[in-house]
C-alpha cells in the first residue's frame, strides 16, 4: 500500500518574454497565449496577455519587453505538452496595426533554466498585386486564430516569410512526473541502488 499515489503531475512555468530582434521594424508589442492538449488544464496563472509597446531607442537594436509569464498546468499525459504562441504586431507606414510575426515553441520539458530564441514568420501574399494592395490598405495577410501556429496540420498549403526572432526565458519545475513513471532525464537508476523488478515483455 502506498501512501502517495498521484494521478496527475504538475508543470510550473516561470519566465518572461525578454526581447525581440526585428531588423526592419520598430514600435512593436506582442501577445502570447498557451495551446495545450485535451489532457492538460491550467491550474493557476494567466493564459493570455498583451505586452507594452517597445521601441529601439537610440543606438541599440534591441526591442525589450521583459514581459512576465507565470502559469501552472496539471495533466495526466505528456501528449499535448503546452506550447506558447507569441504574435508580434507593429504599425506600418500609414499607422495601421499589422502583424509582424507569429512563432510558437513547446514549454521546456526538463526542470531548470532555459533560454529559447524562436523565429517569427508572417503569412505571405500570393501575388505581387495582393502584396501591393495590402501595403496600400494596411490589411496584410494574417491568421484568424494565432493558435494554428502551434498545430502541425494544414500547414502544407501556407507560404510564410520569417523575419525576426523573439527570446524567451523559462524556469521550469515539475512535480510527480517520476512518481507516475516518466523518465525525463537520462540518469541511470542503477546508481541509486534501488531493486529493479524485471518482467517478460
Amino acid at each position: 500500500m502506498t501512501s502517495n499515489n498521484p494521478a496527475v503531475f504538475l508543470l510550473m512555468v516561470n519566465g518572461q518574454i525578454e526581447a525581440a530582434d526585428f531588423p526592419e521594424y520598430d514600435d512593436l508589442y506582442c501577445k502570447y497565449c498557451f495551446v495545450y492538449g485535451h489532457d492538460w488544464a491550467p491550474t493557476s496563472g494567466l493564459e493570455e496577455g498583451i505586452s507594452q509597446i517597445t521601441s529601439k531607442g537610440g543606438g541599440s537594436q534591441s526591442l525589450v519587453w521583459n514581459f512576465p509569464l507565470d502559469i501552472t498546468f496539471k495533466s495526466t499525459n505528456p501528449f499535448g505538452w503546452p506550447q506558447i504562441v507569441v504574435s508580434v504586431y507593429g504599425p506600418d507606414t500609414f499607422g495601421n496595426d499589422v502583424v509582424r510575426g507569429y512563432g510558437a515553441v513547446h514549454i521546456p520539458f526538463t526542470p531548470g533554466k532555459h533560454t529559447k530564441t524562436i523565429p517569427m514568420f508572417v503569412p505571405e501574399s500570393t501575388s505581387r498585386l495582393q502584396r501591393f494592395t495590402s501595403w496600400l490598405m494596411g490589411r496584410h495577410p494574417e491568421y484568424t486564430d494565432p493558435k494554428v501556429v502551434a498545430q502541425g496540420e494544414g500547414r502544407e498549403v501556407t507560404r510564410v516569410r520569417s523575419q525576426g526572432f523573439v527570446t524567451l526565458q523559462f524556469n521550469i519545475v515539475t512535480k510527480d512526473m517520476k512518481k507516475l513513471g516518466y523518465e525525463t532525464t537520462s540518469e541511470h537508476s542503477a546508481a541509486t541502488g534501488l531493486p529493479r523488478t524485471s518482467q517478460q515483455l
Binding site: F79, Q83, A104, I118, G152, Q163, R196, L201
Partner: protein, 175 residues
C-alpha cells in the same frame, strides 16, 4: 507495456542552394510499436527567410507510442523540397535520423542527400530543374538496396526533440 513520448519541433533547414523550402516528414516504426496519439507524418509550411540563410518551419511534433519490444525503434525520415516563385516543387534532399533512445532534450542535425543522375541529367537539371527522385521513400531509412545509387550531399535540417520514457525500467531496459 512501455510508452514513449516524442515531443518537439522541426526547427528549420540550412545549407541548401535556395531558401524557399518545405519539408515532408514521417516517422517509421517496427511492428511491435503502436501509435496512441499524434500525427506520424506531415508537411511543413513553405518558408522564405527575409534575412539570413536558414529557413524556419517551427513545425510541432507530438507523438505517443506504446511498445512490446525494442526492435524497430522509431526513425524520422524527411524530404526537403524547394518551391520557386512559379509554384514548382523540386526535390532538394532526403534524410533520416533515429529518434534518440535516451530520455531528455536533444538538439539534432539531420544531414540530407540527393540522387545524382548522369551528366546529361545534371545538364538538363541546370536549365530546366527537376532531377531524379527515389521511386519509393522506403529507401530513405533502409540500407538494403542502396548499392549502385550515386548521390550528392545537401544541407542539414535542425530538430529539437524531447524524449519521455515510461515504464521502460519495469522491463529491465536501461537507457
Amino acid at each position: 507495456m512501455a510508452e514513449l513520448h516524442i515531443i518537439g519541433q522541426i526547427i528549420g533547414a540550412t545549407g541548401f542552394p535556395q531558401n524557399s523550402l518545405f519539408c515532408k516528414w514521417g516517422v517509421h516504426t517496427g511492428g511491435a510499436w503502436r501509435l496512441l496519439s499524434g500525427l506520424k507524418e506531415g508537411q511543413t509550411q513553405v518558408d522564405m527567410p527575409q534575412t539570413g540563410d536558414m529557413a524556419y518551419w517551427s513545425h510541432p511534433i507530438d507523438l505517443h507510442y506504446t511498445t512490446k519490444g525494442l526492435q524497430g525503434w522509431p526513425k524520422l525520415h524527411l524530404q526537403v523540397w524547394h518551391q520557386d516563385s512559379f509554384g514548382r516543387c523540386q526535390l532538394y534532399g532526403y534524410g533520416y535520423i533515429h529518434i534518440p533512445s535516451s530520455p531528455g532534450q536533444h538538439r539534432l542535425q539531420c544531414v540530407t542527400w540527393r540522387p545524382l543522375g548522369s551528366w546529361q541529367d545534371q545538364l538538363s537539371e541546370m536549365f530546366v530543374g527537376g532531377g531524379p527522385q527515389l521511386r519509393s521513400p522506403d529507401l530513405i531509412y533502409s540500407g538494403a538496396d542502396r548499392y549502385r545509387l550515386h548521390t550528392v550531399g545537401m544541407g542539414t535540417v535542425e530538430l529539437e526533440l524531447c524524449i519521455f520514457l515510461r515504464h521502460f525500467d519495469r522491463y529491465g531496459v536501461e537507457s
